[in-house]
Subunit: 404 residues, 2 copies
């Protein structure tokens, strides 16, 4: 189902970051469903979480534990531990405590993450039995297994790796993620873990993560349903030979650019694996008065069921795109100034269909698996991009038939 | 496809309001696609229009002509005259002028309305040839033909009629509408025409229409795609023997209640005929701090593809409803106070699944064609209701295959 090339890349080890997986039987398949991260004592750790008012228990606990110095992440797939009330909090705390005992650490240094079915009690006993095995498997060269262990309805494991040079020393960045957007049936949802051997303070790392999340994971949508469990974690082990990265430095810019590249690539992989996706759409809104209105227009197009079903049908239905721009809620937009292109083919100009547009040219673009919807508002200089996928029979099938 | 009983009712004539239909060949079927309303010289006329920034040409012209004293409505289905630039305005004006010539009236006393495919030139010549026939057919007893002439992808004609008594004299209200929501493929979209023989000033009629639209048509959604052509018109012929309705009177309250009842019934018929709909969902959000947040929560649930596909599957998936409430953007909501019922079955209480909930009870409700989602926020006394339908394979089919 996935759109385009999605092979898992070579991911070198990150000095100071170990990963261990095992099968705890949460999903009742033979796939691993439990993942432990362990990182160096000098590591720093940043995290951002879902804005859904009803966070899952592990999200609430991870927010609390982030204030201490995290050294372990405990991640399970197959159960979201969301909508589980007070018991959910107790269960999440219990699993952190169990891991802390095995590794000889403190409970509040463990951040818990869960993804899977909402509203069922976390199978704490299964996890307790399996945890020693995951810890025994801890190794630096374990990224692909880790990417597979966090999958739910994902059809392929998602990883991205990048090496940069700071003052002549290599810094490696590895990231894994699971999706697919906010669209998993009964599930929740986007998790991403990125690790680097860079040395950087926690506040600066958190600043970096917040800024790069906004331009990567917060610029994709599959169906607009923000989940209760979304989380993205960035770990810096501090074990590289490169000097510490400090604020407002050239090295910080290089580092933040590389983190953004990794996160954008992971975000794109999630859209490529959107449930039922047959097409990847890059929605570029430019000539906006500010970034906010560019994002607003792009997301309105990205969320429109009419636009998404038209793309599934490879139908160059510019009227639906134009109607979505019009209802985006931007004040005083002028229809006459709008131009809309599908890739390089202009379809809307002067308030209606472009004079030189031909159905054949539009159809040629639409037949592709990856398409840019390029909307120029003619009212400013700001530009933003949002990625999304189309809306197919399989989306309905996957989400309607999940429990039956 | 429609949900529930949708028979066309008996619609008595409205004194002072005549309707004439004909087949202009716009849709290339044998169905009538042209409708003319003619009303008495003493009639008043109110209208509300789409908030989409890119209004269709007829919407812009109708807004302009509404400032004069309208005596005719000219409605075509099969072509929306939207996204048609300057030519679209000229075409709309030309058709008004043609009708004015035939009936011996002024061009600015004709309000034009179009619904159908976006982005194609209005077939003015076909309409010009057909207009005399529509005028020749003008009659007071023609409501069902009128309801049929404005249909596009609707599967049944939609009409509602109600008689009230003011000071011992009957006042009749008839309304027709076409849908289905904002979801018609390549089409646009909701049109409703309501007529009464009441006598009431234009400003008061406009006030009444605005208030009742907010609580009827603005409380339904099929897919959240607001169209470029939505319009609702309320005509008062003034031919009833009842006294003139004046502001802040008991008669006004009776009249406005009746108008609201008619409009709510028409709005519900549109949802019942939502594209691909198999279920009608009434989303009642109560115990909100104000009406705005109640509507906000209800619409977030109503727009959620995850909730809509779950209902299509008759799956009592309370986690998806809870997640939608959580992402609705209401500040400081408390999960522990929320209760969610499917009809009378409590599914969420105390931050998670209700203790006494059983899958069997939930499943029994979900197997019905009409279901109330009853969300109690536990933070105030305001309540609002939004109607929507489920999201089925046929929604994707209808919207993906329309042009192929």
């Amino acid at each position: 189902m996935a759109v385009g090339q999605t092979d898992f890349p070579v991911m070198p080890p990150i000095n100071g970051v170990q990963l261990g997986t095992t099968n705890a039987g949460i999903k009742q398949t033979e796939r691993d469903d439990l993942l432990v991260f362990q990182f160096s004592e000098i590591a720093t750790c940043a995290a951002v979480f879902t804005k859904n008012a009803f966070c899952a228990a592990p999200v609430n606990l991870a927010k609390e534990h982030l204030l201490h110095a995290p050294r372990w992440l405990l991640i399970n797939s197959g159960n979201a531990n969301a909508g589980t009330g007070e018991q959910g909090m107790n269960d999440a705390r219990q699993t952190c405590q169990n891991l802390a005992q095995i590794v000889g650490g403190q409970t509040q240094c463990v951040l818990p993450f869960s993804t899977g079915v909402i509203g069922q009690a976390l199978p704490v006993e299964k996890m307790t039995i399996a945890l020693p095995n995951a810890v025994a498997n801890l190794a630096e060269n374990n990224w692909e297994n880790a990417a597979r262990a966090i999958m739910t309805t994902d059809t392929f494991p998602k990883g991205v790796s990048k090496i940069i040079t700071l003052n002549g020393e290599n810094v490696t960045i590895n990231g894994i993620a699971k999706g697919a957007g906010m669209i998993c049936p009964n599930m929740a949802t986007l998790l991403s873990f990125i690790a680097t051997d860079a040395k950087i303070s926690q506040p600066l790392l958190q600043h970096c993560l917040k800024a790069t999340t906004e331009l990567s994971f917060n610029r994709i949508t599959v169906d607009g349903d923000t989940s209760t469990n979304d989380a993205c974690v960035l770990i810096a082990s501090g074990c590289s030979l490169a000097p510490e990265i400090i604020a407002d430095s050239e090295n910080y810019n290089i580092f933040a650019d590389a983190i953004l590249t990794v996160m954008k690539s992971l975000a794109e992989l999630i859209v490529r694996d959107g449930e039922g996706a047959t097409k990847l759409m890059r929605i570029v809104v430019s000539e906006a008065q500010n970034d906010e209105e560019a994002v607003q227009v792009a997301k309105t197009i990205a969320h429109s069921p009419l636009v998404k079903t038209a793309f599934f049908a490879s139908d160059p239905n510019w009227g639906r795109i134009l109607a979505a721009v019009g209802r985006a809620g931007v004040e005083a937009m002028e229809l006459e100034k709008i131009r809309i292109y599908l890739d390089n083919v202009c379809i809307v100009r002067d308030g209606g269909r472009a004079n030189d547009y031909t159905e054949e040219a539009g159809q040629n673009v639409m037949n592709q698996a990856e398409i840019t919807i390029d909307v120029r508002l003619g009212r400013g200089n700001c530009s933003q991009t949002v990625l999304t996928c189309d809306f197919s029979y399989d989306y309905v099938k996957i989400n309607a038939e999940y429990r039956t």
